[in-house]
């Protein structure tokens, strides 16, 4: 980022912590001169008046044409689907938070994923993805991409070398979530980068493999994949970044040279973020990100430790548990802006049972009881909310994964996903205790 004074549009980011930056963003932006309003107005117009046909033409030339206009122009706004002040302000702040050069927002997280994959691949290309993915990403890759003749190879990327087993000349993208949804596998971004770099040495620029990380579970508070070597980071703004469960949204963060393609894709495929939703993330989501996630991590750690000590629980996956399989990798890459270990707000656990069927029955009993009786736990999909949410991946978020594939992807039939909210943690634990008692 540039280092200029406040009146001159930027801030000295070496002097201030990210917690502070999350509140101010760029503070003053060329994207919209609202400099005397402490908060940006909510833009509420689909169209923008143009002074002349010439200015209109200039606007259309400038749109998605960074090589001509250079970086960060004061845009000529034309039509909401092309661009609008609230989204532009949010994008500047998100790029900054995720440590990328640019960000482009979308209507949902899936809108962001399909846009990025849309510009990185074409018919005949291949994608390597971790075998445990969010259900709708899995569905995008396995139900839709075959229609476009894009092949997706699902492998276990917790061992980086596994990409070599499915690598081909056609491979264009390595895609994964870390922690993965729902079971919190941790994938070593640095180690994958090293392997991909070696492969890329042999390839011309256009064919170099890109690493794409869905950072939704961690949020940029816990992890900045681009700093660790990813080419792109994707977030669902619906989750921790939005934080209040009021609005949908998604974002792709990466190098400036991809911004134009993403804008064109968004223009033509149309998954545009609503300006009011953008305003909510600017006004509530980002400024409270650090206090919300810090609190959720503290609670998740205590909850994970509690669950870990219950004899009705088979196992607990939480990156902050020292006995967790991926603890060391997590400790290396999940760190907050100040260098503290930040293992996130998600917990995955499985209840005991004589067999998989009984374990699933116990999980259902547990969740149905919680749905009716727990004050601090809500049975619902989504995560990163003010409320603690629990859900059953096998029948909800991951119901698109065929039953016979569940165990291959390490999604247990009786697995429970818990997303810590902002309640008093003792209340959550006491509710968990009640629910475990009836199993």
């Amino acid at each position: 980022m540039n280092t200029q004074n406040k009146n001159n549009n930027t801030v000295d980011d070496t002097k201030y912590s990210m917690e502070t930056h999350l509140i101010y963003g760029k503070n003053v932006t060329k994207k919209w001169d609202y400099s005397h309003h402490v908060l940006p107005p909510i833009s509420s117009s689909i169209i923008y008046r143009l002074d002349s046909v010439e200015r209109g033409a200039e606007g259309f030339i400038e749109f998605a044409n960074s090589p001509i206009t250079g970086e960060d122009p004061m845009p000529i706004y034309i039509y909401d689907r092309l661009g609008e002040p609230n989204k532009d302000i949010l994008e500047e702040n998100l790029a900054y938070t995720e440590r990328g050069e640019m960000a482009v927002t979308f209507a949902t997280g899936m809108g962001a994923i399909s846009a990025l994959m849309g510009i990185l691949t074409k018919s005949g290309d291949e994608i390597i993805a971790h075998h445990t993915l969010y259900g709708c990403t899995y569905s995008l890759f396995t139900s839709w991409y075959p229609r476009y003749n894009i092949k997706v190879n699902l492998v276990d990327l917790t061992d980086s070398k596994n990409i070599l087993t499915v690598l081909s000349e056609k491979t264009k993208v390595v895609y994964f979530e870390t922690p993965s949804n729902p079971n919190l596998d941790i994938i070593d971004i640095v180690s994958l980068r090293e392997i991909v770099d070696k492969i890329n040495e042999q390839r011309p620029e256009a064919d170099k493999i890109k690493i794409v990380v869905d950072n939704t579970f961690a949020t940029p508070f816990c992890q900045r994949p681009i700093e660790l070597g990813a080419n792109f980071s994707i977030d669902s703004l619906t989750k921790g970044l939005g934080g209040f469960g009021t609005d949908m949204g998604g974002v792709v963060i990466g190098k400036m040279k991809y911004r134009d393609m993403l804008l064109l894709f968004r223009k033509d495929f149309g998954a545009v973020l609503n300006n009011k939703s953008a305003w909510n993330v600017i006004t509530y989501g980002l400024p409270t990100l650090s206090i919300r996630i810090q609190k959720q991590i503290q609670s998740a750690q205590k909850i994970a430790e509690y669950l870990n000590n219950q004899n009705k629980v088979e196992f607990v996956n939480y990156p902050g548990l020292s006995n967790y399989k991926y603890y060391e990798t997590a400790k290396k890459q999940m760190i907050d802006f100040n260098g503290n270990f930040s293992p996130g707000s998600l917990i995955y656990f499985v209840l005991k049972g004589k067999n998989a069927i009984e374990s699933k029955e116990n999980a259902k009993k547990f969740m149905n009881y919680a749905a009716k009786n727990a004050y601090t736990m809500t049975l619902a999909v989504s995560l990163g909310h003010t409320r603690t949410l629990i859900e059953h991946p096998a029948s909800m978020t991951h119901s698109m994964v065929p039953i016979d594939k569940l165990s291959e992807y390490k999604i247990d039939p009786g697995g429970i996903r818990l997303a810590a909210g902002l309640e008093n943690v003792d209340d959550i634990i006491s509710d968990l205790d009640k629910c475990l008692n009836i199993v």
Binding site: H36, H37, V38, P40, P41, I42, S44, I46, Y48, R49
Partner: protein
């Protein structure tokens, strides 16, 4: 400019910086100042807000006024007007104004030393007779809620001018589309913008419009000093609504005329109060000072049980307070909007326990008529 043109354009020039055609929601509480004493005319959200200013300019234009001053509710606007008088002053008010206005004046403002005379202002001489040395304001509502009595605004404003009194008209029932009291010589117009101005039953708001510089100054001062200001988002929602005010009012008016005619012809109601009916005692005055008859009808069904059954059995009409929304509402003034008026006072003006008030929405009129027919049939 014509009404519909003003509704869409007045106060809503494209945003000077971006060209945004629709006014942004300036959702900020404070404004950064360049240095001590140097700012762009915006200091604090209670005092200044761009979205609110757009709304005020818009509705002022619709009421043919110079100034609009917006409030967080109709009653907050009414209360602000009390800042034009002081202890010992006397106010003449229409005797069947909205119940909340009655409550504000009688149960609150009286304790601050204000005197009120409640008179039937449909007879102009009643206003003249009530004037005292200390009379300062005449507060009118026409048509009244819920009895739909009219006051001759031209005549009333002449009396006020002659006697140096400030005339105020609550124009909520008519909306600026159907009646403009300022053009009839009145000094101040007041609206509950919750009703027809907003029309979608999703905002509480009020506004005062005037041409008088000193009244504007005083009310503007009160708006800031007392602080009952509307939120920027609510202002934006009302701005969204005024754009369709003309087409909505045309339809409210048309539907209400048809419903009133149906009630009259079917003889289902004992008595119908609607200025659009030829037998309304002030039908001629209505034709003279209003551009239509509005969407509000009251009807007396004779028996409390009939009224109750109607209120209970309607399916499209919603039993609820408020009025002026796109959806039809039905209410029971005696126990709802006018419960704060003593029973004897109510009965005197015809506001019986069997009176039902209709806020006719913009649904298909055939469905509305069928709904009332069915609801009454299930009783008979």
């Amino acid at each position: 400019m014509g009404f519909s043109t003003d509704a869409i354009h007045a106060g809503q020039k494209p945003d000077p910086v971006t060209g945004a055609v629709i006014t942004p929601i300036y959702q900020t509480s404070t404004y950064a100042q360049e240095e001590l004493g140097k700012h762009k005319g915006y200091e604090y959200g209670r005092t200044h807000n761009l979205t609110r200013q757009s709304l005020e300019a818009n509705i002022a234009a619709l009421e043919k006024g110079k100034y609009g001053i917006a409030f967080s509710s109709g009653l907050a606007a009414t209360h602000a007007l009390m800042g034009l008088v002081k202890a010992g002053d006397h106010i003449i008010a229409s005797n069947n104004v909205y119940g909340g206005t009655y409550r504000l004046f009688e149960l609150i403002m009286k304790d601050y030393g204000l005197e009120f005379s409640w008179v039937d202002t449909s007879e102009l001489k009643n206003i003249e007779n009530a004037i005292r040395k200390n009379t300062k304001l005449v507060y009118l509502e026409t048509p009244t809620n819920p009895m739909l009595n009219l006051t001759d605004l031209k005549g009333a404003s002449e009396i006020c001018r002659k006697n140096n009194l400030v005339s105020i008209v609550d124009n909520t029932f008519m909306s600026p589309y159907l009646q403009n009291p300022l053009t009839l010589g009145c000094d101040i117009v007041l609206h509950s913008s919750t009703k027809y101005l907003n029309g979608h039953s999703d905002v509480i708001g009020g506004i005062i419009i005037t041409n008088d510089d000193s009244i504007h100054q005083r009310i503007r001062y009160i708006q800031n000093a007392v602080g009952a200001v509307p939120s920027p988002f609510d202002c934006w929602l009302i701005l969204r609504s005024t754009k369709t005010l003309a087409v909505r009012m045309e339809r409210h008016n048309k539907n209400a005329i048809e419903l009133a005619n149906f009630l009259a012809e079917s003889k289902l109601a004992k008595k119908i109060y609607y200025p659009g009916l030829a037998n309304h005692p002030q039908h001629e005055l209505a034709k003279k000072q209003m551009k239509g008859f509005g969407g509000m009808i009251s009807a007396d069904f004779g028996e409390v049980e009939t009224a109750k059954s109607l209120l209970k059995n309607v399916k499209i009409f919603t039993l609820g307070e408020s009025l002026g929304g796109v959806e039809s509402l039905i209410s029971h003034p005696a126990s709802m909007t006018h419960a704060s008026v003593p029973k004897e006072e109510r009965e005197k003006m015809g506001l019986t326990d069997s009176l039902v008030r209709f806020s006719v929405g913009i649904e298909d009129i055939e469905d509305l008529i069928a709904d009332i027919k069915n609801a009454l049939n299930s009783y008979y």
